[in-house]
């Protein structure tokens, strides 16, 4: 989902075979673009991204609209639109020394 785009609503492409462009963005603003069919599992995108950055996919959090992506999510099930953004961040760990 993009911010502040209420006046730019486009008709949705409902063809499940039609690819859409998805942007994966880190908290530092680095962007990687993916073209993916609407019925393709986003886990494929996650794996490709992790491979691209050379990290274990389990160590990265993929979020769409603030929600963590699930194994079976696809652009169609999430009602994603052309140019939507997936946020990516590292797992957070905090504590104190006992």
């Amino acid at each position: 989902m993009s911010d502040n785009e209420n006046d730019n609503v486009q008709p949705k492409n409902e063809d499940p075979a039609a690819p859409i462009n998805i942007k994966v963005v880190t908290s530092q603003g680095e962007e990687v673009f993916f073209k993916i069919k609407r019925n393709t599992k986003l886990s494929k995108l996650q794996g490709a991204y992790a491979s691209k950055v050379g990290k274990d996919v389990g160590s990265i959090r993929f979020l769409y609209d603030g929600n963590r992506l699930h194994e079976d999510d696809t652009p169609a099930t999430l009602d994603m639109e052309e140019g939507d953004t997936i946020d990516v961040m590292v797992e957070q760990v905090g504590g104190t020394v006992l």
């Binding site: 989902m1 911010d3 209420n6 990290k55 990265i60 590292v90 797992e91 504590g95 104190t96």
Partner: protein, 274 residues
């Protein structure tokens, strides 16, 4: 999400049936450290935030707020987790009485039967809490965002479906920073995000937001939407002020959801260290 905890299953967080917990002749350092009363706070002494046990995989995409001097540790394996969990449960069983001791015994009896890395379906797929993460919690490992989210879900389940308290996930504050960088002006997403309809429609009186600061320490923001106040709790720095950028992002978000309110920070004193 259906609740999965019965009252009868609930251990007491600080068991009052265990008078031995603070006895000086008890020599279990770990237990004393976990349950000892907090030392008096000195607001003139700056807090010390320890280096985190950063696991190897977590170096990816690490944000700029992280401290320096990280050492890398491999992710604990199942057998090590079982040992540390059993240590903790044995300590608990030896140093407590009543229901707490009984629960510790029951856990010790069953812990060996746990399958590694299996999702616990009484928590949401968002928290993705696994048996492995549960064992981390029983040992001395630091808290991952899955632990924090599962803890919030636990409280949410206890409060019940009529609760007017909303818990945001532990990555929300980081998300806000990202949203704000992209937005040209006020917070105005093209469609509502997680939990936002309840807040914007006035169905949430309290919004609880955990956040990671200094790359290694969990703090919490507590927003009272009716009083338009923000409280901040940091167990390592109870007199400290919230991170200015985080507070600014939070106000930006709240202004987008509740534009008729001007949120002020009010003082909060952390009840205990940990």
């Amino acid at each position: 999400m259906p609740g999965c905890f019965d009252d009868d299953d609930m251990p007491e967080l600080f068991p009052d049936d265990s008078p031995d917990f603070h006895r000086p002749d008890r020599q279990d350092d770990r237990l004393r450290a976990r349950f000892a009363p907090p030392p008096p706070y000195d607001c003139d002494v700056p807090p010390s935030y320890p280096d985190p046990p950063l696991y190897e995989d977590l170096r990816a995409l690490q944000g700029g707020s992280s401290g320096s001097g990280f050492s890398t540790h491999r992710t604990p394996v199942w057998d090590e987790l079982l040992i540390s969990s059993r240590d903790w449960l044995n300590s608990l069983r030896s140093n407590s009485t009543g229901r707490t001791a009984t629960l510790a015994s029951q856990c010790l009896d069953r812990i060996g039967q746990l399958p590694p890395d299996e999702l616990l379906d009484c928590f949401s797929s968002q928290s993705a809490l696994t048996t492995t993460l549960c064992l981390e919690l029983l040992g001395d490992h630091w808290l991952r965002d899955e632990h924090i989210l599962a803890g919030l879900e636990f409280v949410e389940q206890r409060l019940g479906p009529e609760s007017r308290t909303v818990f945001m996930p532990p990555w929300h504050m980081l998300n806000l920073s990202m949203y704000r960088q992209r937005a040209a002006g006020p917070y105005n997403p093209s469609r509502p995000r997680l939990r936002e309809p309840a807040i914007a429609s006035g169905h949430a009186d309290i919004v609880v937001l955990p956040a990671l600061v200094h790359g290694n320490h969990w703090v919490i923001f507590y927003v009272d939407t009716r009083a338009a106040t923000i409280r901040y709790a940091d167990s390592l720095s109870p007199c400290g002020a919230p991170d200015a950028a985080m507070l600014s992002d939070l106000r930006w978000w709240l202004a987008g959801l509740l534009p008729d309110r001007n949120f002020n920070v009010v003082e909060h004193t952390s009840p205990r260290k940990g």
